[in-house]
Amino acid sequence: MKPKSVIRKATTHVNQNEGLIFEKSSAGKFAWRLPPLDVPEVDTAKLLGASERKDLGHMPEVSEIEIIRHFTRMSTWNYAIDLGMYPLGSCTMKYNPRVNEVVSRLDGLANGHPYQPENVSQGALRILKTLSDCLIDITGMDAITLQPAAGAHGEFTGLLLVRAHHQSKGHARKKILIPDSAHGTNPATAATVGYAVENLKSNSQGMVDVAALASQMNEDVAALMLTNPNTLGVFEQEIHKIADIMHAKGGLLYMDGANMNALVGKVRPGDFGVDLMHLNLHKTFSTPHGGGGPGSGPVAVKKILEPYLPTPVVVTKSDGTLGFEYNRPQSVGRVRAFYGNFGMFVRALAYTLANGPDGLRQTTEDAVLNANYIRKGLEGAYDLPYATPSMHEVVFSDKLQAKKGVKTMDIAKRLIDYGFHPYTTAFPLIVPGALMIEPTESESKEEMDLFIEAMKSIAEEVEEDPEMVLAAPHTTRVSRLDEVAAARKPVLRWKPS
């Protein structure tokens, strides 16, 4: 393939052909060794009777070096933050600091059992308390639960708190208002909690239509689930009106904290009327994405919601030590076993300590600076559906390119050839053919210049050689994969032939 423009960032490199581990397996190979038993051997048939398992089927048998090569080779097929930018909107793919990994592996923390006595858990409890205090001040709230395992889980927990609040007032209320620009977890979660979802249309500037909100808000609406800045990267400037409308009729304002990277250290949601919100530690607070998790979704709340928080909560006892309080009669209950994704708390706290107040503020400033630099660089080459100022992310559309039959997904696939991971395609839904770009503060000017250059080059290619873009990617180990066949006739496990 011979593109007209020069691709400066990427070249192809050698990728090995590594099969499935089962294809390398053969009887007698092994990678394990247990120490000899220091207690008597047992007769498993006698101990377990009919419950004894005789056969582990097609579980693999391979040696240690084969495992090392297997996973190392496969890892080279992945893109990663360590390799380059992920301009994914609302994902906040920032640098995952390595000191986070080191401290989470310290023995007392990595091997702490959640049920060990409190007097040998003071280290863990102090981590929970310190992180909680930091997140409470960052969000401008009064209390917090660290229990939810991810953002969606946090949303679920938040809505349980909303329900508990309204039930205590005698009227459970049936509806949740959700803007049409919202992330899919918002309505999915509302349904899980048994609420009916009512859509709130965005206005011509992509923000909440305040008049529509006023007319849709009534005493049967429990809460509004808002993302601020919204999924267009735009700050809801009428947020005080929005909060007032909700509060005047006894409703609550829930904020999806996915876009906190635009706010930390500059403004606090608790100060502009938010009653409760969740945070994504795997976004704003640098914990690694790991190919799809684990995440962590703490929920911060105003005082009025504190009694309903999941059990247990961390308390300081009269002797000054920390402990867990289980006696919480108004609690909504547990949303998971134990206390939350503790390993992520360690990492998020390490990130906070590495930054301090000045670092956190500067991080937010750079995040917004970077998004605006990219917006400026791509204006003209791509259609900008909303003129409103962007915070930490910017949304373009494929309107100009669609004239040549090229859509956002095609442009995204061609971007891969330039050495970048695609931006978020086709979301938010209110922008048809969306290109949602969030560079985060972790991108240097050099990296962003390469990205802008790549995107401009693709826009040119669309004009001069659209087929190049439509058939992309050309440089990856596998070309476009047949998702239709995968959905029609799913093959979800290996089977011996």
Binding site: S51, D82, E101, Y115, R268, G290, S442, L481, R493
Partner: protein
């Protein structure tokens, strides 16, 4: 700040290119009355060495290098070192969810292998790419059964982990699903007669755990029969994954909801862990969570993609099978590598060692105290009842750097001074002998119970 790759000159150049005078211009959309004009109340910026020191202190305060007899849903097994060598590779650690399949084949293929091995171990036909943990996996398994049967009620064994049942209660209340709890007999197993009476045409599923919270292996066949003859589904939760090496999996289950933490995921004070749901192929469209499927590219080359995405929140929104988005991919990769290391023979040997250590410990405890539920087969946990308060016993053990079993009064008040003990391949004979001797002190002694010494660090 050292994570930020910009020089002051870069920032100047960028502001100029944007046409802004200062960074404040870019924050002008935020109404002035809300803009923060003070520093956040977080500790001052620390050097890397200070950060490490701070956490080292916390680690010391957290009692490192104790002998551990706790289980109860979180198990202390050896983690082969190559797990961390491999998952720490930036290409795994810092990779995003594999939505762009062409540049995520590493993540996708390893998840496909994970799904395959879970099926092999659980006896199910299809498995997902992980849920948050065992407690939420069990709950999601129950919700699946409710969707599939169209029925309302849930029957759950009291021998299921108490915190799992709490989580289920939280989810069930809000979707209006009555929960019937079925007790256990002196064998430690679910009361089958009570189960018969509790399951009817409105029961969506029966939820059990096996080995159960007390370490006892349930009679899955008998329970399945009761559930199925009433048209209810059987959801089996497995909290101790290593049991699958030597205990026959619940092949009669309709859904298996597992906690895979035992497979190479650190105890980590309770999380992150690794839930998984496995089920029969015919139920796959009602299964929550990500699924990786095999397919081919335009050149006929084998590759892997996320598939059946229409079940999920980003497409179905309020009609999704679950609201789950982020799952536990990196810990699932740890479990994947663990299962690969031990494999067909190793997993069985590992499980046998657990069985042997526990059998020895139970026998030793039996000389000084009462070991409950001895009639039914157990895996690596057992319940010991003492005349002395287990909290007092544990205080004494702490002085010898031993963390004793979990006192059960809080969860099962009728069991009095009972505690749940767990032994794994890492439990030494020495630790078992010391622990049993210390427990024996009050049990055998005719002296009045001593003052419990304050544990100092």
């Amino acid at each position: 700040m050292r994570y930020l790759p910009k020089s002051p000159a870069d920032r100047e150049a960028i502001l100029k290119a944007i046409g802004a005078r200062s960074i404040d211009d870019l924050f002008s959309p935020i109404p002035a009355e809300y803009r923060l004009n003070r520093d956040l109340k977080v500790p001052r910026q620390m050097a890397e060495s200070e950060i490490v020191d701070w956490f080292r202190e916390r680690s010391r305060e957290n009692g490192d290098s104790y002998a551990m007899f706790l289980g109860a849903g979180a198990y202390y097994h050896y983690r082969p070192v190559i797990i961390d060598s491999l998952i720490s590779r930036g290409e795994f650690l810092t990779a995003y969810t594999p939505y762009q399949a062409e540049i995520s084949q590493g993540t996708l293929q390893s998840i496909f292998e994970f799904q395959s091995m879970i099926c092999e171990l659980t006896g199910m036909e299809v498995a997902n790419a992980s849920m948050y943990d065992g407690s939420t996996a069990a709950t999601e398994g129950v919700m699946m059964a409710i969707r599939l049967t169209g029925r309302r009620t849930i029957a759950v064994a009291r021998s299921v982990h108490p915190e799992y049942r709490e989580v289920l209660a939280t989810y069930a209340t809000h979707q209006d699903h009555p929960v019937v709890t079925v007790g256990f007999t002196e064998s430690g197993r679910i009361d089958l007669k009570e189960l018969e009476k509790s399951v009817n045409q409105d029961t969506a599923c029966v939820l059990i755990q096996s080995p159960n919270f007390f370490g006892i292996i349930e009679d899955v066949n008998a329970i399945a029969e009761i559930a199925h003859k009433n048209g209810a589904m059987l959801v089996v939760s497995i909290a101790e994954a290593v049991s699958l090496g030597i205990v026959e999996p619940p092949r009669q289950a309709d859904v298996v909801a597992m906690e895979a933490q035992s497979f190479g995921v650190p105890l980590g004070f309770g999380g992150p862990y690794c839930g998984v749901i496995a089920t029969r192929e015919k139920y796959v469209r009602q299964m929550p969570g990500r699924l990786v499927g095999q397919t081919t590219d335009t050149n006929g080359r084998r590759g892997f993609v996320l598939t059946l995405a229409t079940r999920e929140q980003h497409i179905r929104r309020e009609k999704a099978t679950s609201n789950i988005c982020t799952n536990q991919a990196l810990v699932a990769l740890m479990a994947n590598i663990f299962m690969t290391i031990y494999g067909k023979v190793g997993l069985r040997e590992l499980a046998k060692q657990n069985l042997a250590k526990t059998a020895y410990a139970a026998q030793q405890f039996g000389r000084h105290a009462s070991v409950l539920f001895s009639a039914a087969p157990r895996f690596n946990e057992f319940v010991v009842e003492t005349s002395e308060d287990p909290f007092a016993i544990n205080s004494r053990l702490l002085g010898h750097k031993i963390i004793g079993g979990l006192p059960l009064k809080k969860f099962y008040p009728e069991l009095g001074n009972a505690a749940l003990w767990c032994c794994t391949e890492l439990t030494t004979r020495d630790a078992i002998d010391t622990a049993t001797a210390l427990v024996g002190e009050s049990q055998d002694s005719t002296k009045p119970s001593r003052e419990v010494a304050e544990v100092t660090r």
